[in-house]
Symmetry: C2
Subunit: 709 residues, 2 copies
C-alpha cells in the first residue's frame, strides 16, 4: 500500500497560492517544475488560475484521479479539509500546515482530531508540520523550498523539515543528489518505520539516511530496518542525546544503559551506521552510494606529497582499516614511471611533479594489486600545473574501478573544476584525507556487518517457565527505594533467596544461602555447610548493603562470625534507625574465580537490553561493560563478552587461571531469554556472578517487576 504514496496518479494542492510570499505558492511552483507526469490540481476558492493551471474552489470539484493531497491551510481549517478528502476517497494527505502538537495543548487536540477523521476514511497522513515529499526519479516535489535536489541514490528521512532544507542545499553545493526525501513532521500517523519500508522498495535508492529524534514504535522500527538492511545501506544521525528522558532505574545496569545505549545496540544489531555529525552522515552516505563493494580492509594511499600521506595513515588506522602491503610486482610497475625518489611503499608518494599521466597509471597499478582493497587518492594542487587534468585522469581510471576509490582534493578556492570532473563519474571527493578515511571506515563497518553469520537467538528448552512464573507472582518485593532521579517513583525489588530461586528456574545456579536471625543461628549454619562464609544485612529498607557497612566477608570461624553478625546489625541500626531488620543472609564465601555482572533492563521502545561486564560495587566507576539486545544469539553474547576487558580476561590473565567462559555465555543467554519471556520484568541484575574454573554462581540477584499501578 505504501508504494502508492510514491506513485500518485494525481496530486491536489489545497491552499495553493498565487502570492509568491506564501508557502502555498512554493508548493505549487515546485510541483509544476518537478516534472511530475500525473495530474496536478490546485484548490483555492479565491483564484481561477495559478501558474497557468486551473484552480478549483474545493477538493470536491477537482476531477479524478487524485491519490495525494498537499494541505497548506490554517490549522483550524485542516479538520474539515481532511474530512472532505476522506469523503472524496483520497488515500494520502501531506499536511504542511503547522499549529498542532508542536505549539500547545489545543494544537495537540487538533492533531488527535485530524488523525481520528483520517482513520475513519482509511486516509493516511504525513505530518502535520512537515515539508512533504520529493522523489527525483518519478519525479515529484511537494515541498515549498527553493533548493531542488539533484537526482541521486541517497534517500533521506527526517523528523525535521529544516534539516531537509539544509541538506538539500548542502548536497547541491557538494555535488550529490537524492533519490527521495521524506519530511515526517509530527508523525501524527505515518511513522519513520513505514517510510523506511517504502524506501527499501525503491530501486533508485542505494542508501537510506535518517535524521532521527526518536522512533515512534520500537518494534515497528526494528522490523522495518531489519527488512531494509538486506538491500540498502542505512546511516542514521540520532539526535537529542542530552534531551533524552532519563529512565526510572536504580540498578547498575539501568544506570549504565541510557536511552542512547538502546539506539546503539539496535543500530548495531540491524547494521545501521550511526553518524556523529550531519557532515559525517553524508560523507558516509556518498561513499556507500557510489563506491563498489569494499572486500577487505587494506587501503593504498596515493599522494603527491608526504604530509597529507601521514594524515591519511593516521586516519586509516583510526578508522579500523589497515595500510595495504603492496606486491613486489606493483612496486616494480610503479618504478617504471615514477621518479626514483618517489616513495614506493604505501603511502605511495609520487612527489609534487606528478601529473595526470602518473596519477592515472599509478591508480591503475594499485587497483590491479590483489593485496589492495581500496585506494585513497590525495591531490594537493600542484605548484605549476593545473589540478583539473589530474582530476580528469583519476576520474577516467576510477570510473570503471571494481574497488572503492575515494579522493581527497586538498583545497577549496581553486579546485571547483577538479571536483566537477570527479563527481561526474561518481567518485566521492573530500577536502581532507581524514574525512575520506572516515568514509572508507564506514564502508568497512558495513561490510563487516553484512558478513556477520546469521543465527537464530538461543532458546533454552530446559527452563521451568511455570516455576519462574509462580515464583515471580509469589515473591514479595523486599526493597522499596526512591528513584535517584524522580522521588515520586519507587521501585520494587525482589532480592535474596526469592530472586535467586526465580533465576534458578531458568537454569542460573545461585548460591546456597539462608536468612539467620541471630549470631547463634549463623554459627549453626556455618557449622553445617562450612566456613568461610559471608554475612549480609537483610532488610527490606536497605538497598545498598555495603554503603552502610552491612556486609562482612571471609568469616573463617565461629568467633569472627558472631562478632561480625553483631557488628553489621549495630551498623545498620546506627545508619538507618528506621529500617526493619530481618537479620542477615549467610552464604558460603567463594574466593576463587572472577566476579562479573550480568544485567537486563527493559527499554520502553526496544525491549530488554542485556549488559555484561566487570562486576562488584564499582560497576559504574569501571564502566567495563557491553550491551546487547534481547533475544540474543550465541555470537552476540560472545561479542558482548569480547568487547569488555572483564570478558577477555575470562581466558586467564597473568597467573590467574582461565575460568568457565562457556558458563558465562550460558548465563548471559539465559538472562536474555528470561527478560524476553517475562515482559513484566523491568530489570534483572546478577552482581556478582562468580565465575569459577568450572561453573558460575550467581551470588546476588535482584529482579524488579513493573508494578501494576
Amino acid at each position: 500500500m505504501l508504494e502508492t504514496l510514491f506513485a500518485p496518479r494525481g496530486i491536489a494542492v489545497i491552499g495553493a497560492s498565487r502570492d509568491e510570499t506564501k508557502l502555498g505558492y512554493g508548493v505549487a511552483r515546485n510541483l509544476v517544475n518537478s516534472g511530475y507526469r500525473g495530474a496536478v490540481h490546485f484548490i483555492n476558492p479565491h483564484a481561477d488560475q495559478i501558474l497557468g493551471l486551473r484552480c478549483y474552489p474545493s477538493i470536491e470539484a477537482a476531477p479524478d484521479p487524485i491519490d495525494l493531497v498537499v494541505v497548506i491551510v490554517p490549522a483550524a481549517l485542516v479538520p474539515q479539509t481532511i474530512e472532505a478528502c476522506g469523503q472524496r476517497g483520497i488515500r494520502w494527505a501531506i499536511i504542511v500546515s503547522g499549529g498542532f502538537r508542536e505549539t500547545d495543548r489545543a494544537g495537540a487536540d487538533l492533531e488527535r482530531q485530524i488523525v481520528a477523521i483520517a482513520r475513519r476514511y482509511g486516509l493516511r497522513l504525513i505530518g502535520p508540520n512537515c515539508i512533504g515529499l520529493i522523489d527525483t526519479h518519478l519525479p515529484f516535489n511537494t515541498t515549498f523550498i527553493k533548493s531542488v535536489p539533484h537526482p541521486g541514490e541517497i534517500a533521506f528521512v527526517s523528523q525535521s523539515g529544516a534539516i531537509c532544507q539544509a541538506v538539500i542545499d548542502w548536497g547541491t553545493g557538494m555535488g550529490f543528489g537524492f533519490s527521495r526525501i521524506a519530511s515526517l513532521g509530527n508523525q501524527a500517523d505515518l511513522s519513520e518505520a513505514e517510510v523506511i519500508t517504502a524506501l527499501a522498495a525503491d530501486p533508485h535508492t542505494r542508501v537510506i539516511t535518517m535524521y532521527l529524534e526518536g522512533v515512534k514504535d520500537g518494534a515497528q522500527f526494528k522490523q522495518a530496518v531489519s527488512a531494509a538492511a538486506r538491500d540498502k545501506s542505512i546511516v542514521a544521525l540520532k539526535v537529542g542525546r542530552t534531551a533524552a528522558g532519563k529512565r526510572a532505574v536504580s540498578s547498575h545496569t539501568g544506570a549504565l544503559a541510557g536511552q542512547e545505549t538502546a539506539y546503539d545496540v539496535v543500530f548495531d544489531r540491524y547494521g545501521i551506521l550511526r553518524a556523529n555529525t550531519t557532515e559525517e552522515l553524508f560523507d558516509w552516505a556518498r561513499a556507500l552510494a557510489w563506491c563498489p563493494p569494499l572486500m577487505g580492509d587494506r587501503v593504498a594511499v596515493l599522494t603527491n606529497a608526504g604530509g597529507p600521506g601521514i594524515l591519511a595513515v593516521d586516519a586509516i588506522e583510526a578508522n579500523g582499516l589497515r595500510l595495504a602491503t603492496l606486491s613486489i610486482e606493483t612496486i616494480a610497475a610503479l618504478k617504471e614511471f615514477l621518479l626514483p625518489h618517489a616513495s614506493f611503499h604505501n603511502p605511495i608518494d609520487m612527489l609534487a611533479s606528478a601529473g595526470p599521466r602518473e596519477y592515472a597509471a599509478a591508480l591503475r597499478v594499485l587497483l590491479n594489486d590483489a593485496r589492495v582493497d581500496a585506494v585513497l587518492v590525495i591531490c594537493v594542487p600542484p605548484p605549476i600545473e593545473d589540478l583539473t587534468p589530474v582530476a580528469q585522469a583519476i576520474a577516467a581510471v576510477g570510473l570503471g574501478a571494481m574497488k572503492p576509490v575515494v579522493v581527497a582534493v586538498m583545497g577549496e578556492a581553486t579546485v571547483r573544476d577538479a571536483l566537477k570532473a570527479l563527481r561526474a563519474v561518481r567518485l566521492t571527493d573530500y577536502r581532507f584525507p581524514e574525512r575520506a578515511a572516515s568514509a572508507l571506515g564506514a564502508l568497512w563497518r558495513h561490510v563487516q556487518w553484512l558478513a556477520r553469520p546469521s543465527e537464530e537467538p538461543v532458546v533454552f528448552e530446559d527452563v521451568d517457565r511455570k516455576a519462574a512464573s509462580a515464583s515471580l507472582r509469589g515473591a514479595f518485593p523486599s526493597e522499596c527505594e526512591a528513584s535517584p532521579w524522580d522521588e515520586a517513583i519507587s521501585f520494587e525489588w525482589i532480592t535474596g533467596t526469592q530472586a535467586t530461586r526465580i533465576l534458578e528456574a531458568y537454569g542460573i545456579e545461585g548460591t546456597r544461602e539462608a536468612l539467620v536471625r541471630t549470631a547463634d543461628e549463623a554459627a549453626q549454619w556455618a557449622e553445617e555447610f562450612g566456613y568461610p562464609v559471608v554475612l549480609k544485612i537483610a532488610s527490606p529498607d536497605i538497598p545498598h548493603k555495603s554503603d552502610i557497612g552491612g556486609v562482612a566477608l571471609d568469616l573463617r570461624e565461629a568467633e569472627a562470625l558472631r562478632l561480625a553478625f553483631e557488628r553489621i546489625m549495630a551498623k545498620a541500626r546506627a545508619a538507618m534507625p528506621e529500617a526493619r531488620l530481618d537479620g542477615a543472609t549467610i552464604q558460603p564465601m567463594l574466593r576463587d574465580g572472577q566476579e562479573v555482572i550480568i544485567g537486563a533492563v527493559r527499554d520502553e521502545q526496544f525491549g530488554p537490553l542485556i549488559m555484561f561486564g566487570a562486576g562488584g560495587v564499582d560497576v559504574e566507576g569501571q564502566r567495563d561493560v557491553a550491551f546487547g539486545l534481547a533475544p540474543l544469539t550465541r555470537l552476540e553474547a560472545e561479542r558482548m563478552i569480547e568487547a569488555t576487558f572483564a570478558g577477555r580476561r575470562l581466558c586467564g590473565l597473568r597467573g590467574s587461571p582461565p575460568v568457565d567462559r562457556e558458563a558465562v555465555i550460558d548465563r548471559v543467554l539465559r538472562v536474555a531469554q528470561f527478560a524476553v519471556e517475562f515482559p513484566q520484568v523491568a530489570e534483572v541484575e546478577i552482581n556478582p556472578l562468580r565465575v569459577l574454573e568450572s561453573g558460575a554462581t550467581a551470588i546476588d540477584v535482584r529482579i524488579r517487576v513493573i508494578s501494576d499501578e
Copy 2:
C-alpha cells in the same frame, strides 16, 4: 635575532627563472606580486631580466642590503651557494631545493654538509625541501605556490609544504587569511621552536597553528610554547600517531605511555589545543582569532528551526559547555517581537518566518543577558525570503559584540553571499551546528587553561639525594629481560629491597620485607613480625612473578606458609627451569586500603612522564590511568588523581572508607621529583602503592637505570 627573518631589508632569489614551468619563476612572481617593500634581486647567470627586474649572474654581484636569500638550485649546487652567501655576510637562507635527507643517504650527507658551511658563517637555514615563508602584513612571499593567502590573524607553522599549500587554498575558499606561514621542510637548522618564538613576537598574529610530525628538540619546544602561550592561542595538529617509534619499555607505565601520551601531556601543560583533523585545526583557529574572549560556558542557541537546535544542544554538551538559562527579562524581551508559538527557552526557536529584524533583535537581547556567555546562531535558508539580509543583520549586531557569536549557516549552494556578509565582520561561520559548537568548546578549553593558577613545581627538601644516589650506584639490577618489541634490547631493573630503599631516601615509605631461603626462615620471620604475610619468588630471571604462580597471598599461619613456600619454588622450577632462584621475598599482607600505581617513564624528547592510576596486575586492561609531565605542581598531581576513577574513589566509595589521598599526592610528587633529579633513571614503578586510612606503603618498587653502554 629571529625578528630579522621576518623583516629582511633585501631578498635575493638564487635560481630565479623566466620559465613559467619552473619553481624559480613562481618564487620570483610571488615575491614581486607580494608587495614586498625591500629590495628584490634575482640571481641567474643565464638571464638579464626576470619580470622586469635586473638579474645578477651571482650572489656576489648583487648589491647590498640582502638579509635573506631564497635558494632554488639543484641540490648538488646548494653547498657552493651557501658558501657564497656566507661569505657575502647574508644571515638567512631559505632552501627550497629538495634532494637532501628526504631522498637517500647521499642527500643526508649533503644536508649535513650545508649545515656545517652555514654554521661557519653564522648563516641560518630554513629547509631544505620547504616552500619558505609568507608574511601577509609586512608583506612578503617567498613561496612558489599559486594561491596567495589573504591577510589574517592566524599564523601557520608546518613541517609539510604541501599542507601549507592546501590550507592556503582552503582558507581562501573558506574566507579566512593568515598572518604568517612558515614551511620548515627538513629542519636541518631552524626548528619549529624558533619559528614559534618569532610568531609569538608578531603583533598581527593572534593564533599560532601548527602541523607537526614531531619536534626537533623537546626542551627548546617546551620553552618556546611556554613563552608564546602567554599572548597567543596555540592549536596543533600532531600527526604520525601510528608511525611513532615504540619506546623500549617493559613496565605498565611504559606500556601505557606512548609517544602520543607525551605530546598530550606537553600540549596540556602549555595550553596547546590538540586538533584531531585539519578542519578542526582551522575551525578552532578562526574562532580563537576572531571571537572576543569567552567568559563562561553558558551558550544560548538562536535558531529558525527546531531540528538544528537539537543538533546544537547535543554538540554543546558534547563539547563540555552548557545551555544558558535565560533571565526572565530576556524571555520577556523576546516575547515582545517573536511569534507567540516561538520557543522562548534556550534553544530559542524563532520559527521559519524569522527575518533580519527578528535575528538582529533577538541576538541583541541574548548578548545583553548576563547569564549568556556566547551565542550560537543557526540560519536555515528561509523558504521564501533571501538568506543574505538575515546574515547582514546578524553581522551588524555581531560586529560590536563583546561575547563570542558563532554562526551555523546551514546550506552550501545558495549561501555564498550570506557567508561573505559574516566574514566581512569576522564572524566565524560553519555549515553545521556541530562544528560551531566544537569551536566554542575550543574557546572554552583555552579559557580554562588560562585560568589555571600558576604554581611552582613541588620540591621536597627532606629527601636524601646522597643516599638515593649511593643506593642507585650500588644497586645490582636483579632482572634482565628482553624488550617485548626488540629482543636486542635488554632491561636492567632494580627491584625488591634495593629499589624500596632508593625511594625511601625520597620519603616514600616501603614495606617491611626480607629474603628468605627456606620455609623455616620464612616461618621464623613471620613469627617475629606477625601474620598474615605474602611470599613472592625471588629470582633475577623472573620478571613477572604472578605469571608463573610465584606469588602467595594472605598466608595466616605457619603451616600454610611452609606449604606456600614449597609450592612457589616448585612452580618456578617447573615454569622456568633455567632461572636462578634466590628464595622468596616475605612481606606483611596488607589487606585494607586501596591499591594504586605510580610510575615514571622518561620520554626522549620531553623528559619524565608521571603516571597515576588503578594498580594491580591488570593495569593495561583497566586503563584507568592519567599522566603528567615532571616536574609536577601540586595542582597537577591533584588533577591526575581526579582524572581517574581510582583517584576519585580515594575519598571513599560505597562502604569502603576514605583513604589517605594526601599521602598519594605526596608520593606522586616525590616520584616526579626523583625522576627529575636522577636523569639516569629511565623508569620507576610502584605497583601497588597500598593506600591506607592513614599513610601509604609502596609494596613493590621497580627502578630501571639507563645502562652505560
